[in-house]
């Protein structure tokens, strides 16, 4: 079986300088999910931009099966004064079918509505996109990525700024998308949430580790990934892996 997403000996650089990300080597099968962990500046976004083809590899190769991946960028740069509804934005995902010159079909509309429902925004479909909150806009853009119906989804910190209840719903959604046979790559700063993924990739300029959460989420790997930013809690978690939080997202009481 060929991998849905693969990188081999990958190095990516901006301009002529030294690579921002090096020695990346992993494979992800269809129907599985990967959590990308790393500190600020670790190279998570750089990896995604290499996978979308926006950045050409300096060395090595990347491959993404099944056509253009859906991509949810970390920083949304949307025009808030542009008059479109949340539904209109979700519907833009259907442009990925290639027939951009035709109006959206009724079935596309239904798909867009369903996607808004999946991110918990069914009741905001008619609202002006620019008048939604930041977290709501992020969820509408996630809905747009879902409407795209891609085999591979690249989601760069999709839960940043999303409230806990919505985050829980969206984490369930990740599971559903994976069970539909898609490959899912999600970057996050929330080390604890990485446990729910099939694979974890730790990057900090170099690839630090890749594998199943139980193998990867060790004190040693997390310390090498995050350096001084990590607080490793000594008590082991329910599945035996260490528990840890990154300092900038310190939200555990202990």
């Amino acid at each position: 079986m060929t991998a849905a997403v693969a990188a081999s000996g990958l190095a990516v650089a901006y301009g002529g300088g030294r690579p921002a990300l090096e020695r990346v080597e992993f494979e992800l099968a269809a129907g599985s999910s990967l959590c990308v962990l790393g500190p600020n500046g670790g190279g998570k976004t750089t990896l995604f931009r290499a996978l979308t083809g926006e950045l050409a590899p300096l060395r090595g190769t990347v491959s993404v099966a099944g056509g253009r991946p859906a991509y949810l960028a970390q920083t949304e740069r949307t025009r808030l004064d542009f008059p479109v509804s949340a539904l209109d934005v979700a519907l833009m995902g259907s442009l990925a079918n290639g027939r951009w010159w035709l109006p959206a079909r009724r079935s596309d509309r239904a798909t867009a509505r369903a996607a808004l429902d999946r991110v918990g925004l069914a009741d905001r479909a008619g609202d002006r996109f620019g008048e939604l909150s930041g977290g709501q806009r992020q969820r509408v853009l996630l809905a747009r990525a879902i409407v795209q119906d891609a085999r591979v989804l690249l989601l760069d910190e999709p839960l940043a700024g999303v409230d806990p209840a919505s985050a829980e719903r969206i984490e369930r959604l990740f599971g559903e998308l994976r069970d539909e046979g898609r490959a899912l790559l999600v970057s996050t700063h929330d080390v604890d949430s990485a446990r729910a993924f099939d694979r974890v990739l730790c990057v900090n300029h170099d690839q630090i580790a890749f594998g199943a959460p139980a193998d990867v989420l060790s004190r040693e790997v997390l310390e090498r990934t995050y350096g001084a930013e990590i607080v490793v809690l000594d008590e082991p978690g329910p599945d035996g892996t260490v528990r840890a939080v990154t300092v900038q997202h310190h939200h555990h009481d202990h």
Partner: protein, 277 residues
């Protein structure tokens, strides 16, 4: 006074047809021009194409060809001048365009030139030929079809260019299509409204409707109607008041923009003043 009086002369009927055709297309299209922040480039091209018009008038070839060539030369001049990063592209554009405007005036003001500079600068809807009308109809038809076909990619890129890219829509290609349409619109519309006033029909209606409608499509339809109505109002006003037709149309379009802005301001203040539920 007879309301239909302007319609009784063939000249004025043609002028009305010209402003309605140009208004319908340019009004709708102008919504994208303003959304993509192309007002200043559009003004630059409109003014910079003057030498093309003058040369065509002097050589006795159709002004439309002069307009097309003029837009191409102006776009090239702006692009070349903008390459010097130490000057900055807006300053470079201003210099290039003023230079072209000066060149056009110089050519038009030679003693043996036919005295048509005024018409080229300020337009003369009352002087449109059948050829001009055919060009305006072709622009409204072909340009309208292009706007329909490009609607979804334009909206996707306008909302966020990076996101559109991941949907397989090239922002560069979309912007290029927009500029090509802009060049065509200017080359045609300049025949009726002149190099200095043509921008009114592209920008005025879009400003008038901005913020009043909930979708880009509705804004465009409203802008088309506003542009056509303002154009007709301008022609009527010029017939009744004996004012210059091109300038009257441009003023009517700008009055519509001011009115739209005024209503927006009042509505905004009222919304701010009313207690939230």
């Amino acid at each position: 006074m007879d309301l239909l009086e302007p319609l009784q002369s063939g000249i004025e009927r043609r002028a009305l047809a010209e402003v309605v055709l140009l208004g319908a297309f340019c009004g709708a299209f102008g919504c994208w021009v303003t959304t993509f922040r192309l007002s200043y480039p559009a003004e630059s091209l409109a003014h910079g194409l003057l030498p093309g018009l003058v040369v065509a008038a002097l050589a006795g070839i159709p002004l439309l060809l002069g307009g097309v060539a003029g837009v191409a030369v102006a776009a090239l001049a702006v692009a070349v001048a903008g390459r010097d990063a130490r000057v900055g592209s807006d300053t470079a554009t201003a210099v290039a365009v003023t230079g072209l405007l000066g060149l056009g005036s110089l050519l038009a003001l030679t003693p043996d030139a036919p005295a048509r500079l005024e018409e080229l600068l300020f337009g003369d809807p009352l002087g449109v030929t059948d050829g001009d009308l055919a060009a305006a109809a072709a622009l409204a038809l072909a340009g309208g079809l292009a706007l329909v076909a490009l609607h979804r990619p334009l909206a996707a890129v306008a909302l966020d260019a990076g996101g559109a890219r991941s949907l397989g829509i090239s922002a560069t290609a979309v912007r290029f299509a927009l500029l090509a349409l802009l060049a065509a619109a200017l080359a045609v519309a300049v025949q009726g409204l002149g190099s200095l006033l043509v921008l009114a029909v592209l920008i005025g209606p879009a400003v008038a409707v901005r913020g009043h409608f909930s979708t880009p499509g509705r804004s465009m339809a409203a802008a088309a109607v506003v542009a056509a109505l303002a154009g007709v109002a301008g022609i009527y006003a010029s017939a009744w008041l004996g004012t210059a037709a091109g300038a009257s149309v441009a003023l009517a379009l700008c009055a519509a923009a001011a009115l739209g802005a005024l209503v927006r301001g009042v509505a905004g203040r009222r919304a701010a003043a009313s207690p939230s539920p």
